[in-house]
Each structure stands twice: as C-alpha cells, then as structure tokens.
Assembly symmetry: C2
Homo-oligomer: 425 residues x 2
C-alpha cells in the first residue's frame, strides 16, 4: 500500500517535526545528582519569580491558556495523555524538543539547559541540566517509542568528549532520534571549527540528526526592544547550517544530518540561490569561487535533502507555495504541541485551511514522509495508527487526483539555469 | 521637462549609489596628524605585506586588472579622471564610499578606518583614520560637487560627542552627502542603544543619510572558510536597519535616513513580510504584537522609502523582477566603480542586458531619481550632463512606451492582504 493517498478517504501519516516535552521544573529534581541541588534551588526560585512577573503583565492570557488546556498540557510529560492529544490532532508520531512551556517557562530543563543552553557559563551545570532532561525524555519515549522522536540535549560547546559520551548513550535509547546543540556558541569555538569533528562523527555513525531550535539570541544586544529579537531569532537558529556546510563538515561526514527547527523556511530559497552563485555564477563572484575549493563537492543547494533539513513547524501559506524551491524532501511540517503559537488542539482545522490546494503527494511528504526519512520512523508501525486517526484528502478538502507538477519541481530552483551554475570541479 | 524618458532618444539621469574613492595608502600621510605617523608606518608595512601575499596567490588576476585599467583607476582620487570615467559609463553623478581598492586593499584609509572600522580598538586611531579620509574626500568632492555624493567616515561606536562634531563638520562640506558608520559595534553599545541619539539627531538635522556598507563581519569566527564569510556578510551590513527600526530611532528622529549599501536587496521583501506580521498578522505572533507598542507607529514595511533605503549596486535580474515589492523608491542601482566586481568600464552593456524589459519610469527611479531624492542631488545641474552622456531607452533596447503597472505595484506586498496586517494603534 502506498503512503500517498490514492482515494479521498485514504489517510495521511502525519509526523509532527516539532513538539515539546518537559517536566514542571521542580520535578526534574530526582533526575539531578544531589551535588547540583543547591544550584537547582536557586534556579527554581528564579524561574518562579519570572513566572510571577509574567503573570503580573499577562494574567488573563496565561491563566486562560493554562485553564482551557489543563488536561492536554499534561502530555508534556505523560505519554498516555500525549498519545490521546496526538490522536485527537490526527498526528501519528512527533518529534520532542525541550521547553514544553513557552508561556512562562516553568517546564524548562534545569539551568536553562534547553533552548538557551549556549548562555550557560558552567559546563558542569550545562551537562547536569541536559542529562537530567535526557533521562526524563528517555523514560517518556520508551513508552510507544515508534510514536516518539525524542531530541536529547547535548551542550557540545561546553565539552566535546563528554558530548560524545552522551551521544553514545542517546543512540542506545528507544525513541530518542536526534540531538539538539546550543544555538549559539558565544565565546566558545564556532561550529566550523574542527574541534567538533568527533561530535559530527558520532552523530553520523549513530544516525542521529543534529538540531538547532529557535529561541536563543544575543538578548544582551537588544535592550527591551522585542522587535529586534523577533527580527533576528530565526537567523541565529539557522546560522550553524552554513557554518557546517562551508567548513566542509558534510564532506568529512557525508552521513551527517543537520535540521533547523521552528525557525521557518522562507529564507532557504534565497540562501540556496546566493550560495550556488558563489560556485561560479558570473562576473560578480568570479573573484571568490576558487576560495571554496575543497569545502564542498556539490552545489550548496544540493546538500538540502541529503544533509540539510528544515523543521518548519506550522508553515505559512507562502512557504507552502515555495515548496518546490525549498524542497518537499527538505521541509517538514509540525504542530509545535503543546505551545500556544502552534496548531494544537486545532490541527485538523489548520491543515484544512492551508493544504486544500496542495497536491496529495506533496502533502504526504510535507506532513510525514520526509520526517520518516530524516528520523527513521518505522512506517509499518505508524500506518495502522494513521489509518484510524490521520486526516485524509477528503477531510482536508483536497482533490485526491491532484499530483505534483514535475515541470514546476524541475525548474523551481530557477537560478541554476539563469546563472548556469555548475558543481565545483 | 520630465526626468522620465518619453521618447526613445531621451536620456536617463544615472546616479550610481555605490562608488569608491581613496588615495594610495601612503598618500594619506599628509592628511594625518604627525603624532599618528609612527602607528601609520606600522599600518603601511602591514598593508604592503598583505599586498605581497595576495600577489603570490593571484598575480595574473591582480596585475591584469591593474594594468588594463591603470588610467581609469586613478579616478579613485583624481576628479578629472573620475568625471571622464563617469562620462564614458553614462553616469551623471556617484556616491563615494571609502576603500577604492577592493583587490589588494592598498587604497584604504589609515588603520582600516573604512569598511572595517568596527574592528579598530583605539578610538584615537579610528578617528584619526576617518578624519584623514574625510579631509581627502572633501577636497575631491569640492571639484564638481554636484556630481559627487561623498560619504564621510564617522566611527560613532568609538566616541559619540566626537562623532557629532565630525558630523557637523561634514554637513558644511560641498559634495559630502552622508556618513558611514561601522558595520559592527562589536563590544561597544549596539545601535538600538539610546547612547547614539545625538548622532541620529545630528544626521537628521543635517539631512545626512547614515550608511553601512558590506565588508566587515566577525572573521574571527570563520577560520579559513570563505564560504561562511560570503554567506553572512550581507546580514551583518543590513543588521543595523532593524536595530534602528525596532528601537524606535525613526520615531524619535523622523527625518533620519538609513541606507544599506552593496549588500544586495533580495532579502528586503521577506523581512518586510515577517516584520509586518509581528504587528498582528494572525495566530502565531499574537503573543508578541503588544511588545512592539511605542517603538513603531507604522507598519515596518512603510518605513522603507521614507527612512530605510538600499544601495544595491549592480542589482541581479531577480532583484529587478522584485522591484515593486522592494520598492523603486527604496532601492538604488550603482556601478561600484572602481571595483572589479562592478560594471565599470562596461556599464552600458550591463544596463542593456539587465534593463531591456524594465518600464522606463521604473528605470528612471532605479538608476537615478530615487538616489537624487535620498542624497539631495540637484537634478537641474545633472540634467545637462545626462543629456550628453546618459543612456536612453533606445540604447538600453527598451520599448519607450512601456510604463509601470499600477496594479502590480499596489499588490506587490502580498502579505498585507493575506495577513490583513494593520498599523499599530
């Protein structure tokens, strides 16, 4: 049986490439070594003070969200509740990042070891927080592991040998399928530095995709100007992609996969265009092409779909319109459950509103098949689940006979012809 | 008489929004105070060693360029030669940034005070180098000042009161029409900091647009991976634009103009889309809109064309296709004379190849009228020059009856309708 619907009633296998899991802060205590408890009490007090502050400014919104969704929010740590919520949303499996509470941040790993790990000074605390979360996550994901893509925290910037040890532990846990590294390296070596080669080698060997997830940014440069944060946060999350690519990491580790998550996808086509152009696309860049020798052996855009992927979460309509140039083998949809800016608990409605005009084969890729490939989900195990709970072309209001246009696909990366770019010799 | 050609033989007034001027390094000596001469001799020795290195790797390219263009390259500092080269290229006036030698960097202001000013540690040297270049530039631009848009160097990051003094001096020089600030603030206050308000006020008062120009980037993070530099350099140049916008600088200084130069323009539409969306474009950003209160009073995209401009140099065909969404009142063409990646000495050919299908009114804006508005060039003085040397619809192979499509213009910023974004209350 094909995983691309052939009739209107056939179901899609939806794999959400962006979800979050986490305990209420204080519940991480048993996962932490006792010697870190004093530092943890300090961290907890800070977190709760932060929550009090947030409540002062935004009480109605916060309490409304938490009260209306009290039961479903427990899926952040309770696997039975999580499956129930996934089922109701039509999602067969999901990928789990840290920081389940995006509203007041009280379901974050100890010491901020989740989305803001780069900002931790002490390597001991960075690893203690990460390891506490990873042990909780492994427990959560050992329940129905075929429906889980747990993304473990590994602060590679803080200690490469310890990072490699943790990666080897992660590789053995059922339901853990990737690692997240700090978005920012700050004063530590940048990701193009060869010091990280043991990390990339370990991840390539274990088939664990490496992620950044949006969140961290140089807040100290923003003052109280939130607009600046919004304008930059996506760039900081995506930045490691070109540091890996142009430092030759994918040449030295051809099996390495890097995924940028919840940092949108609209930016990918223009980057591909400009990057490919460095390879000899005409007069303006003539003086530079020679400088890329030995770093890349293909056109930069050709690393997308083999080494570079995008977990775009709840894509915009414009990103769906750009799907061929971004690549339906590159970009993955996600609900962002249980964050309030995501589609949960209204995923069916959102899919219907955005995917009505999208061909079924593209829809199947974007909603699940690309994620299955990236994370190694077993479709044989997910198919029976999807057959009961998944959306179908009919429920999405699609014309089930509509298929991808091969010509539109083939010419989507327009600059290849316009600039006559060719792979490096 | 209209400045938009009505017949095929009418000439365009071309104002190149990106050119470079500079002395051979050692010729800056007389413009430097004697107390800086010892530091200058050290700097010179470094520069010459750098040139020797470059020659080792790239002798044929460098010597070929310098020999073939020996006479024309003197226009970097000789106003008579410059006018002759502008005439031959069909350019009525041009905007002059520092660092005339983009090949081996031996026409850079002392101490790297041009495109890499942010990297200078000692404020004394930063200002000494800037002032030396500015005195040379004022002399150059005092010759036929109506054809010159000199952009003075002001290292505002290094000393705000001295910067304001220098800006007041610049404002009084015929032919100086703007200032360039360091692209990177590095460890100094970021451009959203209120500490710079006296600078913005002085520039707004004097009608001097503030610029960044691509070049500087955090090289210390790139190792020998040139591809990373290429992938980021545009972002670092553009970055101050959103720091000014979202810190409210254009609200406090409505007359302030900021121009990003030689950092392309392709990125502007997506930034406008995302920025406008923060203002209330739907579910995903609902939790953020309130945080922008008081920083902006219009939609972010509406600051383009009043406060934000782009000197895109030799635009790509794709950027020309995106001209309505970027704004023909925003983006300005330039030759980049005398850099080898620019169009000089083949500007007519390049214009013919790129502008053949562009309507004449758009062409007139892109090639000159927008720059005249931004920099306050006197069109009455430029018209007779252009009437002799400028390109015409006929020489560009255009259909002189073709005019801009008002409907395409009006709907180019598609997200306004799709997201129903509205200006802040």
């Amino acid at each position: 049986m094909s995983d691309v619907p052939e009739r209107g009633s056939d179901r899609y296998i939806v794999i959400s490439a962006d979800g979050h899991a986490g305990l209420a802060c204080e519940d991480y205590r048993p996962f932490l070594e006792a010697r870190h408890h004093p530092a943890f009490e300090e961290y907890l007090a800070e977190r709760m003070a932060h929550r009090e502050e947030s409540l002062k400014f935004n009480y109605d919104y916060i309490m409304g969200w938490e009260t209306d969704n009290e039961e479903g929010l427990k899926g952040a740590y309770d696997p039975v509740v999580r499956n129930k919520e996934l089922d109701a949303d039509g999602v067969a499996a999901d990928v789990l990042f840290a920081d389940a509470d995006a509203v007041t941040g009280v379901a974050s790993p100890p010491f901020g070891a989740g989305l803001f790990a780069g900002a931790i000074d002490d390597p001991e605390l960075a690893f203690a927080g990460a390891r506490a979360h990873n042990r909780f996550l492994a427990e959560l994901c050992s329940h129905t592991p075929h429906r889980r893509g747990g993304i473990a925290l590994v602060p590679i910037t803080h200690d490469v040998p310890r990072a490699v040890e943790e990666i080897e532990w992660v590789a053995a846990q059922p339901g853990l399928r990737g690692i997240m590294i700090p978005t920012m390296w700050r004063s530590r070596p940048p990701y193009g530095d060869a010091v990280y080669d043991p990390v990339w080698a370990a991840c390539a060997d274990a088939g664990l995709p490496v992620h950044t997830h949006s969140g961290e940014a140089p807040m100290e440069e923003y003052g109280d100007h939130t607009g600046i944060y919004l304008a930059e946060v996506v760039w900081w999350a995506a930045r490691p992609a070109w540091h890996l690519l142009f430092s030759g990491a994918f040449e030295r580790h051809p099996g390495l996969k890097f995924v940028v998550t919840e940092a949108a996808a609209y930016w990918a086509p223009d980057l591909m265009w400009k990057w490919d152009q460095y390879m000899g696309g005409g007069h303006t860049t003539k003086k530079m092409a020679a400088l890329l020798q030995g770093k890349v052996s293909k056109l930069p855009s050709d690393y997308f779909g083999t080494n570079l992927f995008i977990g775009a979460s709840t894509m915009s309509k414009e990103e769906l319109r750009r799907r061929y140039v971004i690549g339906t083998d590159v970009v993955m949809w996600g609900t962002d459950y249980p964050h309030p800016e995501g589609t949960w608990p209204h995923t069916h409605e959102r899919l219907r509103s955005d995917f009505g005009a999208i061909p079924v084969d593209d829809t199947a890729d974007l909603l699940g098949l690309t994620a299955a490939h990236v994370y190694g989900f077993d479709l044989d195990q997910l198919r029976p689940i999807a057959a009961t709970i998944g959306p179908s072309p009919d429920t999405l209001g699609q014309d089930a006979s509509l298929r991808s246009d091969p010509q539109a696909r083939a010419t989507a990366r327009w600059w290849k012809a316009e600039y006559g770019v060719v792979p490096p010799a």
